[in-house]
């Protein structure tokens, strides 16, 4: 129970965060955000929406039971407080009183229960993150009007993190019935913005929810999320005033600054990853993977292609994350001689041929060609197998095409989730790179998020996965925003997940 006190104090801190005086914001302008990610539908549990990239719009509409602060620690959201029993098998949550959905229905424990039961009933029709959360729940019951007790199938301290993502997003029970899924959803949430219109894969237009429990002080009158795949078009929109905020690619930073725009780089727990198929006898060998790690000149890659928004790293976590360890960076310095030696030791004195399943976009192909050239210099001959989105998933599932696959890793609320999905044998079809990885994951599951012992296990996991090259991290990825100077503020880097919360973004008084 001690834990519950701590969360309440920190919660107040977040809400009252020092903000500029109310007069400083233009509260009748609309935040028009040109994004590179689209929402297929507005159903948080629907597979397309389940990736961390699609959270921006959903968070603004639905809010979530748990918020995560800059350090990645769970904070009270729609749930006032929560706590575990001794052996972490029972998770009790108290719902924040006095909160209503956009259609006026009360957001009480019964509403939360109905949402969670719906997610469970979706089974594996739902997205991966929701399935992962619901699979841990054995039973749920109401206690009074504002508390829910959840019995877990096995000890797991991850619930606060999991309920910080799509699984924790609450939809008005009045609109929920058995058949609502995907496109038939009526997007009525309890978040700061109400939906006015939605066109799949094009735009979502919302207006401010003046009855929002978190207050409306300084918030813009509305928020529009536009999906524009072409990066050039996104920047042009901000330059010609059709949008006041645009997600741009790192290579456009120079151009944006030259045009007199403010460029904000939000470092995130997100990175470019190279995954190897361990069943292949070439990249399956640890020495070959280590050779690849040594063959890549990460600093040059980050400077040339990161555009100032990326830093070389071998870890899955940003510098500001508690799990980050400086000494791990020295494990794989850029050393072509070492790489050739490792290849020879692995039995490939005159080089090795590997196939690389490459997604068919400019960004991926640029990175791919740069790395291909580097690996080529040490004798690792890469051949590309270019595919589009529909065949991209063939790396993990049969027919398991390609030895290597490059991924834009989006980060997860709970560091443990990151290791589970990228290195643990639950998610990786060919098992973990080393048995110790699975043992450490199970150890961490039985620990509560705030517990220092859990952090120690995280550090150990980071070292082991890096030493055994279960993933080949290349460089960090940041969200890069462009907007007219002074026009957009309060865009906190939401460290835990790959996405940035647009909920609290405000528009400068002088801008329209």
């Amino acid at each position: 129970m001690k834990f519950c006190l701590v969360t309440a104090i920190v919660g107040v801190l977040l809400l009252g965060s020092p903000a500029r005086a109310a007069g400083e914001y233009n509260t009748n302008a609309t935040l028009i955000y040109y994004d590179a990610v689209s929402n297929q539908t507005l159903d948080p549990q629907e597979p397309q929406n389940n990736s961390s990239f699609a959270q921006g719009t959903l968070m603004a509409i639905y809010d979530a039971l748990v918020f995560l602060n800059e350090a990645g620690d769970p904070q009270p959201g729609l749930a006032m407080s929560w706590d575990y029993n001794e052996d972490l098998t029972v998770f009790t949550m108290r719902i924040r009183p006095g909160v209503t959905f956009h259609d006026g229905t009360a957001l009480d424990a019964a509403a939360v229960l109905k949402n969670l039961e719906r997610s469970v009933s979706l089974g594996n029709r739902a997205g991966a993150a929701t399935v992962e959360t619901m699979s841990q729940i054995a039973a749920m019951e109401l206690i009074g009007s504002d508390t829910i007790r959840i019995r877990l199938k096995s000890p797991s301290g991850q619930m606060p993190y999991l309920l910080g993502g799509q699984a924790g997003m609450m939809i008005s029970p009045a609109t929920l019935n058995e058949s609502t899924f995907g496109v038939t959803i009526k997007p009525v949430g309890a978040g700061p913005y109400k939906v006015r219109s939605f066109e799949s894969n094009v735009r979502t237009v919302t207006t401010r929810n003046d009855a929002y429990w978190g207050g409306i002080e300084g918030r813009p009158a509305g928020f529009e999320h536009h999906f524009v795949p072409e990066a050039r078009a996104r920047l042009n929109a901000v330059r010609s005033g059709q949008a006041n905020l645009a997600l741009i690619e790192p290579r456009q930073i120079g151009e944006a600054r030259a045009a007199g725009f403010a460029v904000q780089i939000n470092e995130k727990n997100s990175s470019w990853e190279l995954h190897a198929n361990f069943t292949r006898d070439t990249v399956g060998k640890l020495k070959v993977r280590q050779a690849i790690m040594h063959a890549i000149d990460r600093p040059a890659l980050a400077d040339a292609l990161g555009g100032g928004a990326s830093r070389a790293t071998v870890q899955l976590f940003a510098r500001s994350s508690p799990v980050y360890q400086e000494d791990l960076e020295r494990l794989y310095p850029f050393d072509q001689a070492r790489a050739r030696a490792l290849l020879a030791e692995a039995g490939y004195p005159n080089g090795v041929d590997v196939s690389w399943l490459l997604l068919n976009t400019n960004e991926y192909k640029q990175m791919g060609e740069a790395i291909q050239a580097m690996l080529g210099e040490v004798g690792i001959r890469v051949k590309f197998d270019v595919v589009d989105v529909s065949q991209y998933t063939a790396f993990r599932r049969p027919p398991q095409r390609g030895d290597l696959l490059m991924v834009r890793w989006g980060g997860r609320p709970d560091p443990l989730q990151t290791f589970q999905e990228s290195s643990g044998s639950t998610a990786v079809p060919w098992g973990a790179a080393a048995p110790e990885i699975d043992q450490l994951i199970d150890q961490a599951r039985a620990l509560v998020p705030g517990d220092p012992k859990r952090l120690a296990v995280m550090h150990r996991l980071a070292r082991v996965t890096t030493e055994h090259v279960s993933h080949m991290t290349l460089m960090t990825r940041s969200a890069v925003y462009a907007y007219k100077p002074g026009c957009v503020s309060n865009l906190p880097p939401y460290l835990a997940t790959g996405n940035d919360r647009i909920n609290d973004t405000k528009i400068g008084a002088t801008c329209k």
Binding site: A231, R232, E249, R251, Q252, G254, E255, A258, D297, A300, L301, D303, A304, L305, L358, N360, T361, N362, K365, Q366, G368, E369, A370, Q372, A373, F384, V386, V387, D388, Q391
Partner: protein
Amino acid sequence: MSAAIFPAPGTAAPAVPLPPPSSFFKRFCRNRTAMISAIILLLIVLTAIFAPYLAPHDPARSSLRNILKPPSAMYLLGSDDLGRDVLSRLIFASRLSLVASVQAVAIALALGLPLGLISGYAGGWADTVIMRCNDALMSFPALILAVVIVGLLGPSLTNAMTAIGLVYAPRIMRVVRGSTLSVREEVYIRAARALGCGDARIIAYHVLPNVTGPLVVQATVLMGQALLAEAGLSFLGLGTQPPQASWGAMLGTAFPYMAQSPVPTIASGLVISVTVLCFNLIGDGIRDSVGRMRRSGD
């Protein structure tokens, strides 16, 4: 007037021999624009053949330390987004682009020629079936059809060129069918058939020579169009895939950096435009030369 109409008795109408090919080239050479374009095209083909000797640097060698450099003594046309020399890549890319266009037009000919001959010569139900399928294909906008084929076959240059070949086959088919129909009605064809010539011989000796004129014109123009189509597909990411690079692919990768370093984009854009222009002008030149030859022939 009377003297001219009724030639003096005793002299038979002079048989007008089909002009020898040399007169075709003489007429083509007199067409200045066509000649200039032919010379430029020849230069481009030569650069493609002797690319290794002409390119100042190795096109694939990237140096991430100097990306997007402006044109300088070292990089005559500047460096691209991975620090490779744009000029060398353009020179090597010419091989890929020209071969790709030839492949596309070859496929279009391989499909269009026989189908055109059959539907033009045989006529009847064969003609209607082929024409209906042809119309159905033609009702697809060319680019969408190409995107569908490449998107489904998987993005690669060969697939892109197969798609472009398929998309242009109906055009070749129409040209061939048109010429075949016009020849089939000629008297000398009926005369030949009356003499017992088999269809194959008739097609070979009578239809084909007459079809080659317009066919060569259409093929030349299509060579240019294939280059443009490949550039379009590459822009959508469906044309050439790394590490290969065609002109279209180079334009596609350079164009996002147009603001900081316009030279690579303008260079690749211009190279494509000039080559396609040469193909078009040569096509016009051939059509004029062939046109006049045929007219004075009959």
